[in-house]
């Protein structure tokens, strides 16, 4: 099982979160507060034109994230 960042993932495929990179305390905390925790399943719905923004489907709702933030989310392939 490989662990990669969310922004390296493919569209329309379910992934399981492995852990959140806590280098940036405030943002990583906000991610956990929004439901991005270990073993949660998510999926990329759409990439933006320049691929700097992602539309994520997680736990029943849709969220838009910057690529730099998505990089903090480590998922299992």
């Amino acid at each position: 099982m490989q662990i990669i960042s969310l922004n390296q993932c493919e569209k329309n495929r379910q992934y399981l979160i492995d852990y959140i990179d806590t280098t940036n305390l405030a943002i990583s905390r906000r991610l956990t507060e929004l439901g991005f925790i270990e073993k949660t399943s998510l999926k990329i719905v759409q990439f933006s034109a320049l691929r700097k923004t992602l539309l994520i489907e997680i736990e029943g709702y849709i969220l838009s994230l910057r690529s730099s933030v998505a990089e903090m989310i480590k998922v299992r392939k």
Partner: protein
Amino acid sequence: MKKKFSINSTKFLLVGNPNTGKTTLFNSLTKSNEHVGNWHGVTVSEKEKDFIIEDTRNTLVDLPGLYSLTPLSYEEEVGADYIMNNLSSPVINICDINNLKKNLFLTLQVAEINKNIILFINTFKNKNKIKKQIINTEKNLNKLGIKYFIGDANNKKDVLLFKNLLLNIFISKKLKNNLLNFNYLNNNNINLIKSIIVENCYKNNLDPNYMVTRLLENDKKAEEKLNLNAQKKEYLNKIIKKNNFIELNKKRFNFINNLFEKNEEKIIYGKSILDKIFLNKFFALPIFFGILFLIFYLTFFSVGASLSNLLREFIQNVIGGKFISWLQSVCDIIWIIDLFETGIIGGVGTLLAFLPQVILLFFFLSLIEDSGYLARIAFLFEDIFAKVGLSGKSVYTLLMSFGCGTTATLTARNMEDKNAKIKTALLTPYMSCSAKLPIYAVIGGAFFGANNVFIIFALYILGIIIALLLSLILEQKFLKSKEQSFILEFPAYRIPSFIRVIKILWENLKLFLIRIGTLIFTLNIIIWILQSFSFSLKFVQTNPNEVSILQGIGSVLAPIFSPIGFGNWGAVSALIAGLAAKEIIVSSIAMINGIDVMGDNMKNQTMRSIIDPAAAICFSPAGALSFMLFCLLYSPCLPTISVFKKEIGKKWTFFAILIQFLLAYTVCLILYNIYILVEIWEGLKILICFFTIFIIIISILSLINRIKNKKFCNYNCNKCGKCKK
């Protein structure tokens, strides 16, 4: 008979995630009309209002949307602090029935420190339509132990039932809230931590229970507020792990997940087939520009123009004509008649006639916001915005600036990054506001006729492009943004409710009329005085040798503006007047050129007058274009300047004004001279050709770029080194 209210007044706090219907519930409970929006960041400070349940008078506080009690932005900090300072007040926690799991996180955080909490589960629609969903929700919430109410915040009956529930639980205390057991907190040394910080809490007026949970979440700001000495800090670092928040939040979500059945039917909130069109790789941007163009067309032409003309006729013939005739019959003092005819009816009347168009503009803006399309726009432009140091959250502020820049700037408070907030505020004046609408309609209309729709569209787009370039420069040199998170929830598409839209229109109508009736009215009279009387206070019309004050001032400054195409005193005077409010520019032109209220349509008269070389203010086509551009760029109006001072400080306000003047002059200089050159070679056609070719080139380049990237990379990581992954 006046109702007597009991003295006991309870303060209720309205708390919830952004976009859950807090403000709708606030309005329903207090029967007021605070602005509701389908975009978080619309409530930017607490709002307190009284509301009545039976014979008790209570207070309701509407707090900004919160995802958690650990704030990231200024508006969240306001909300979290308020909750901390009012832990004895009962909390109404509003949740979205479609998004319960995420909403319940805040519920847990608040319930951990404030036992007096009740949930309002907003259904956003008639309860009968979602019976199954409600049954499932009830099953889940019954396990939670917190009292709840499921209903539609917009429905009067539901709100009444909810009020009764509030009465029984918190006021007459007939029902009790169940005791909640948060067993996930038990292993966290809470009492030990409390004993360490309790002294500092009381010294700094902070609640110990609240502060304990903040510390367990590694909230650095909260820790600083405690002012702990080194020894205590070290002790805490030993007890609380560096990333304790991960464990804690995991436990909270496990607690929440245990309330729900494992394989429950999942409606994904925010997901829609419509996004296949609106976010489509190829169609998204063309659709966006198409919608924008449609809005322009409807506002400036067709519907908007027809309504405006009707109103103008009414003002002129019914009000103007009859009143002036009567006045002339009872009074023979010329300057009084002129004051009413030219100053008031001519000046203010010209502006009032644009009311339908302004309202239409606000209508379309509110449709975009209310329907959920705004979030899609933010997503589409996020990449470009990121490059210039803004975030998608700026989209709301900038979009609202097309209505009124002053109120739009206030919404920038929800930005997490201070520099991004300053940049966004600085850019609002370039989003041509509704006050400039009459300028384009009248001046553009006089010279460009049917082509005016393209001219106006181009002006708006030019304003946006200049704004983006300015932001880029600021990002590189002066106002670098920290890394911003840009986490944005996607709302579901919804058909804008008729009532909601009418409320917004009424709100803006009121603001428009108040502004016209007070500020604009006064300014118009001042300008009328300045242009009707000379320095020695002689009435200019009856003393042809005298020069009006305005002409005196304007003539001095006029030569400065010759290189950019409008070096006459009238145009310059109008611009000076426009420093106070942009609406005055057109009414000044009408007044200075002298229109006959009893004559032909005022707008047509004004348009004809500025072509007439004999008039006080006249333009050449090139000059007209230059003038419109100058108005677009040159300076924020007085109300905006005062908001700037409050929101971004004196230094940046001064900077904003200076940059705008320099930019306005430079851009007009360039464009005016290009236009003159182009005029020699069959004018407008060439300009439009250039513009079109420019857009085609950009599109081709970006398409090539995309194809190039696709050819080599299958892994979509954006680091393209043609890797070996």
